[in-house]
């Protein structure tokens, strides 16, 4: 763009434009080809939705009216799910702070940064669900396996986000502190942390929100909480109860989203 403006000879423009439009045509073509190629593998059958519409309607009808008979039990299990998310997120924050600082380009030497980053990559690359299945084997069925699964995965995510916030700080206040004879720990505590704290709080709250959702899912592989209940009622074809559980999860998650966005506004 800037080149085209700077160039006084208009004769060079048409080939440029042509090349650009050829390039984008190729890109669109490639995108279309990928969609076509994936169509079969993903077994896309839109007609099935209509052909089996009757089944779908029967299936949906069984969800209503929702059956709240055991609501006390559901609430106590939802609380366990929240408690899993609270501890998983808390442990992750505690560990993500040193890992995040060690992964930041402007604080950490290459020999430390690279191994820490790769470790965090591997924490992040594997889904909570997979970790949950492994921890269920290691520490047995129940909420603690869920806590560990969420903790490990979230540490990987928060460490990356924390380190990116650290890399974006203004280096000048830190240099001002260094010039007083402070050591590296003091530079970080007084110069770096105050600059990143609003972002760190915000990221942590976001992760807590999504960890509540994850805690529901990890429950389904036996790691405790409302997820276990959900899995049982679905497997037992108790659709009215399934509906009740799902509605209660939706309400819980919405309330927490509201609470956490209110908290975030207060910190930023």
């Amino acid at each position: 763009m800037a080149q085209a403006i700077a160039d006084p000879a208009p004769s060079t423009r048409p080939p440029d434009a042509l090349r650009r439009s050829l390039g984008s045509a190729l890109l669109y073509g490639l995108g279309f080809a990928i969609l076509v190629w994936s169509y079969q593998g993903a077994d896309i059958r839109p007609m099935a939705l209509f052909a089996d519409a009757g089944n779908m309607a029967t299936f949906a009808a069984e969800f209503f009216p929702p059956d709240f008979a055991q609501w006390r039990y559901y609430i106590s299990e939802i609380l366990i799910t929240l408690q899993i998310a609270v501890w998983g997120t808390f442990l992750a924050i505690i560990f993500a702070i040193p890992f995040g600082l060690m992964a930041a380009e402007n604080l950490s030497p290459l020999w430390l940064r690279q191994p820490v980053r790769r470790l965090m990559d591997s924490f992040r690359a594997i889904n909570e669900m997979v970790f949950a299945m492994l921890f269920v084997v290691a520490v047995g069925l129940g909420p603690f396996a869920g806590v560990l699964a969420i903790f490990v995965h979230t540490t990987g995510i928060l460490a990356k986000l924390f380190s990116e916030a650290v890399e974006a700080i203004d280096p000048r206040p830190v240099e001002g502190i260094r010039a007083t004879g402070a050591n590296v720990l003091e530079e970080i505590l007084y110069g770096v942390i105050p600059q990143v704290i609003p972002l760190w709080v915000s990221y942590s709250l976001y992760r807590f929100e999504s960890n509540v959702r994850s805690a529901t899912v990890v429950g389904m592989v036996g790691a405790g909480g409302i997820g276990v209940v959900l899995w049982e009622v679905i497997r037992g074809f108790y659709f009215a109860q399934t509906c009740a559980v799902m509605l209660m999860i939706i309400v819980t998650v919405s309330l927490l989203d509201m609470l956490s966005s209110w908290l975030r506004r207060r910190f930023l």
Binding site: N106, R124, H153, T154, I157, K160, L161, E164, A165, E167, A168, D170, P171, R172, P173, E175, G176, I177, R178, A179, T180, G181, A182, N183, L185, E186, L189, Y190, G191, P194, Q195, I197, L199, Y203, Y206, R207, S210
Partner: protein, 291 residues
């Protein structure tokens, strides 16, 4: 005092691309002096001051220069001395862009001056002794901004922030204060107050002050002695009164005008990384929400 407060011997610094920022600089400043360092933009003033505090190391080769402060080596031949942190504790640094931590209160910023000498357990827990807090308030009173002590530094004007930085050097108990263009980002009235505070520190406490300026009239008013740099070399070292317009024209040619008017717009020095604030929040939040 028998030893020199500052001794720079044959210091050279070459940046990438072979540009010589400092070229065989040798100066000595006695304890208790107030010295101006003048020169046009890019003449090496900032670079020299940053070397004095050991924030930058000179060229790494034998005979590339050495710096001593109070008789102790800061760096030699491009290697920082092992106890550079201890020396920095005695050297206050005042920056053009103030370099305060915006989200901390003014008094905490001033108390940062004590980090070098307080035990680590205190500083890591933000436990400053009562006596240090009193000293901090007293220093803020001296520079005239005690009323703002418990506000965030970001809420202060540029001139007030710079005076807070000077208060930090006072609390630090600095025996030498290096001020790098402390008034370049300030209006004339704020500039005058900052220079008064520095002169007060020099006269009242006997602190050695080296202040880089690019307005000769401030050098003549506040500093008995001036060292002039051009292209990384010392081209003048003597009484400020000798810097007549003729002398400046002789030293700097066309650049002399910038030094005389002192109104040449100074682009705020960008940070080395060039990234201030929090870029890419959207992308980061996208990662936070996914996962």
């Amino acid at each position: 005092m028998t030893h020199w407060a500052v001794e720079v011997r044959n210091l050279s610094k070459t940046f990438g691309g072979g540009r010589k920022a400092l070229d065989g600089v040798s100066i000595t400043v006695a304890a208790g002096e107030m010295v101006a360092l003048i020169g046009a933009s890019g003449s090496g003033k900032s670079t020299l001051l940053r070397h004095l505090s050991g924030l930058v190391a000179g060229d790494r080769r034998a005979g590339a220069g050495a710096i001593k402060i109070g008789g102790a080596a800061v760096q030699a031949n491009g290697r920082l001395s092992a106890d550079v942190r201890r020396i920095r504790g005695d050297v206050g640094f005042v920056f053009q862009q103030f370099n305060l931590v915006n989200r901390l209160t003014v008094i905490t910023n001033v108390l940062i001056g004590t980090l070098g000498r307080l035990p680590l357990w205190r500083t890591l827990l933000f436990r400053f002794p009562e006596t240090e807090r009193r000293r901090a308030i007293a220093a803020l009173q001296r520079v005239g901004i005690a009323d703002w002590a418990f506000q965030r530094a970001a809420t202060l004007s540029g001139g007030q922030q710079q005076r807070a930085a000077i208060a930090r050097a006072m609390v630090q108990g600095a025996k030498l204060v290096l001020a790098d263009e402390p008034i370049a980002s300030l209006d004339p009235e704020a500039a005058r107050r900052v220079m008064e505070s520095l002169a007060e520190l020099n006269r009242g406490d006997g602190v050695t002050v080296i202040v880089s300026l690019h307005q000769v009239q401030f050098a003549m008013r506040y500093c008995p002695r001036t060292i002039a740099l051009r292209s990384g070399q010392v081209v003048f070292d003597g009484p400020s009164a000798a810097l007549t317009p003729q002398k400046l024209a002789e030293l700097y040619g066309a650049e002399a005008e910038e030094l005389l008017l002192g109104e040449a717009p100074t682009p705020a020095k960008t940070s080395p990384r060039g990234t201030i604030g929090f870029p890419r929040p959207v992308e980061a939040l996208a990662i936070a929400a996914a996962g």
